[in-house]
């Protein structure tokens, strides 16, 4: 009996010493954060500037005090926008690298991984704003930093209503979306919003993940006489659609989702982009807002000859949000998945200096914000034309 007691004491002692050692290692060590990026896949046109934004943001945080003195180490992977690759990368990050949280990318892979991150308690801050990720009852560990795709589409449809002057009939709207989870994410929300708000949804055209030509879809849409069309693919796809539409001489007014609309669009689509609207949850690079200074300073110091866009700003704002949560979790001595989740859910009206709307997460609502600015391309420049704040309707949570 006595020997058992002493053995227990020995074990206890060993555990305490082990804990001390691990705390020691932790205090001096670095914080590993996973980064899942698309640098080579079908969304790499927007994936690359976003990834650079995240990397630069991490470097900036590390150079400015880190996480209460600890450095962040970004364990990043290019997964080529392939769900199987994302799953393999996730296993590597959580199994071998033991990352504390992940900065993710696409809708398909984020929604596919949602059960994994829930089981493993890994906060997963995705670049996908899919509305399906906003209900903590279903996806407690998923976060993003923007209004949801659904709220953005609702905001754009609200703009359509205000832009439509002919009161004799309802505006006719068409949706263009990619044949993947990202493309389809806000479509159901858009359909319902059209029905409830007297907008005539006349056509839905599905384009492949990667495509070179959209003429047949545009001709279909022309037959349905759509006045407005919302494009839910990335910048390259949007510019193909816009150029084809110009070739066909369509008078439809096009609008774009946040991954098809940035400074890069007028650069690629040239004059076909004139008058096109888009939702822009993150401001263009160099916009006169207080939060922009650290970005432009960093840019001038490290790579003054590069050009940047709103996607780059988006990457930065992600890092600013989750690094704040890491700091708070660290202060609470809870630098683990659950602690970071709790810290994120404690962010209330967190101010990013205007890079994006203030961010609020609660344990029952992961919609970071509901304010969506609408920008228009006027003589090659992005000009803000409106901003819509969608109500936090409970029935919209998770849609």
């Amino acid at each position: 009996m006595e020997s058992l007691q002493s053995r227990r004491n020995t074990i206890r002692g060993a555990v305490v010493i082990g804990l001390l050692f691990s705390l020691e290692a932790f205090a001096q060590g670095e914080i590993k954060v996973g980064g899942l990026f698309d640098l080579t896949g079908i969304t790499s046109d927007v994936g690359k500037p976003y990834a650079q934004g995240v990397r630069d943001g991490v470097q900036w945080v590390n150079e400015n005090g880190g996480i209460n003195g600890k450095r962040i180490r970004l364990v990043d992977v290019d997964y080529g926008y392939k769900i199987p690759e994302a799953v393999a990368a996730y296993k590597r990050m959580t199994g071998d690298e033991k990352v504390i949280m992940i900065n993710g990318w696409g809708t398909g892979d984020t929604e596919a991984l949602k059960e994994f991150v829930n089981k493993d308690k890994i906060p997963y801050v995705s670049a996908s704003f899919s509305g399906h990720l906003t209900d903590p009852a279903k996806t407690p560990y998923n976060f993003f930093v923007a209004p949801s795709y659904s709220d953005e589409l609702r905001a754009w449809l609200s703009w359509v209503k205000s832009d439509w002057k002919d009161k004799s009939r309802a505006p006719k709207v068409a949706f263009f979306y990619g044949d993947n989870a990202y493309g389809k994410a806000p479509i159901e929300a858009g359909r319902r919003f059209c029905k409830e708000n007297g907008i005539d949804l006349v056509d839905e055209e599905i384009v492949p993940g990667a495509f070179q030509d959209a003429t047949s879809q545009l001709l279909n849409m022309k037959k349905r006489e759509a006045d407005y069309a919302y494009i839910n693919v990335t910048t390259t796809g949007v510019s193909i659609i816009l150029k084809d539409a110009k070739k066909l001489g369509l008078s439809t007014k096009f609008g774009s989702n946040p991954y098809g609309f940035s400074e890069a669009l007028p650069g690629v689509a040239k004059d076909a982009a004139e008058g096109v609207t888009g939702v822009m949850p993150h401001v263009p690079f160099g916009e006169k807002v207080p939060g922009m200074k650290r970005l432009t300073d960093f840019h001038l110091k490290n790579h003054p000859n590069d050009t940047h866009d709103a996607l780059y700003v988006r990457g930065w704002s992600y890092v600013l949000v989750w690094s704040e949560a890491l700091k708070r979790a660290d202060k609470d001595k809870a630098l683990n998945g659950e602690g970071v989740k709790k810290a994120l859910e404690g962010l209330h009206n967190f101010d990013l200096g205007g890079l994006t709307s203030n961010v609020t997460y609660t344990p029952t609502d992961h919609r970071p914000s509901t304010k969506t600015p609408i920008y228009m391309i006027q003589s090659g420049k992005l000009v803000k034309v409106a901003e819509y704040d969608m109500p936090r309707k409970p029935e919209w949570l998770g849609l």
Binding site: T40, D78, G80, I83, P84, G108, A112, F116
Partner: protein, 347 residues
């Protein structure tokens, strides 16, 4: 055959292990294989599991293409059939892997035989095109039959479990996957010592002579499609348990081409070749990834080139093998083995 080696019985001629040493070294290899999880990290267990799954699929494809001479481009599709039937059985009816794995194999065998029917009339390139149709038909079905497959979003598969013990990590799952792989490899090895296996080979070598000799060519072609698809179906089923999330992106046409690459590089008509080829093709991207990762400090642009690099090296490997070692890694292995057998007096 070595000098001084005499075989006096048919049994000796048919033996799998030519010498007791071969038998023992295989035994040691298997013991080491099953001790692997004690040493390897999670990441490498993931790779090893994918290799074992690829071995099953490659052996399956080799039975059809290497041994029976029927080209198939439908491998990715058959994998998908195995994976999605597993997900259906495990999600809807909560069936354990002991039921889902064999049934997924049987379902895939049936599908494979249906798509194998054109082999009655078609050979070579024409059959390849006909099986390519299988790929597109299955892909279309998977993408659009959303209630069962989850469409482009994919569907998750519950972890396989042995009673209450969930095989939810690659280390745990390894024992299941590796055991099935070993069993199926032995079955395939023995298959070609039987009448049916010999009939497959006869059809490959000359189908008209085979028919003259009394082999029912069509029956055996279909049987070969069935056996081969069973293997691929089992591989698909295990893939579902390993990946836990399956979507149409798991089964692009490039997977079918990868599998053809495995048996070409490994060696057509060789079980050992299927294994070596599966290891080679599965490890190739992982080693390239490590290499580009290690070099990313010196050459930052390399990581962006990774995807194209993978495809380029894959193509180059196939071309080089076709020119310098058309019989694949298995033939190279035999050359090396024979060299050392007679060392230092090789001739």
């Amino acid at each position: 055959m070595r000098t001084g080696e005499f075989r006096t019985t048919y049994a000796a001629d048919m033996a799998i292990f030519e010498t007791p040493l071969a038998r023992w070294s295989l035994g040691v290899f298997l013991v080491l294989l099953f001790l692997l999880p004690l040493m390897a990290t999670n990441y490498w267990m993931d790779v090893v599991n994918r290799i074992c799954i690829a071995v099953i699929g490659a052996v399956g494809l080799n039975i059809l293409t290497g041994f029976t001479g029927q080209v198939s481009m439908g491998n990715a599709a058959f994998l998908a059939v195995g994976a999605y039937s597993t997900s259906l059985m495990a999600n809807r009816w909560d069936l354990p892997w002991m039921v889902t794995v064999p049934i997924a194999g049987l379902v895939t065998a049936l599908v494979g035989m249906v798509f194998g029917t054109p082999s009655l009339r078609l050979k070579g390139l024409y059959l390849a095109m006909a099986t390519l149709a299988a790929h597109f038909i299955v892909e279309f079905t998977v993408v659009h039959w959303e209630s069962v497959t989850g469409g482009v979003n994919g569907t998750s598969v519950p972890a396989a479990r042995i009673f209450a013990f969930a095989l939810d990590s690659d280390t745990r799952l390894f024992y299941l996957i590796a055991s099935i792989a070993v069993a199926l490899v032995f079955f395939a090895k023995n298959l070609f010592r039987t009448k049916v296996g010999k009939a497959f080979i006869a059809i490959r070598d000359q189908d008209i002579s085979a028919e003259v000799m009394g082999v029912n060519v069509y029956k055996h072609k279909l049987l070969s499609f069935g056996v081969s698809s069973f293997y691929v179906g089992v591989a698909g089923s295990l893939l579902a348990y390993q990946a836990r999330i399956i979507s149409p992106e798991n089964f692009p046409l490039s997977v079918a081409i990868d599998y053809l690459g495995m048996i070409i590089i490994g060696g057509l008509g060789s079980i050992l070749g299927s294994i070596l080829g599966a290891i080679f093709i599965t490890l190739l991207p992982e080693l390239l990834r490590l290499l580009t990762g290690a070099l990313s400090g010196a050459l930052p642009g390399l990581v962006q080139l990774f995807a194209s690099l993978r495809i380029g090296v894959f193509g180059l490997a196939i071309v080089l093998f076709l020119i310098f070692e058309p019989d694949g890694l298995a033939a190279r292995w035999h050359t090396i083995k024979n060299y050392w057998k007679l060392y230092p007096f090789s001739y």
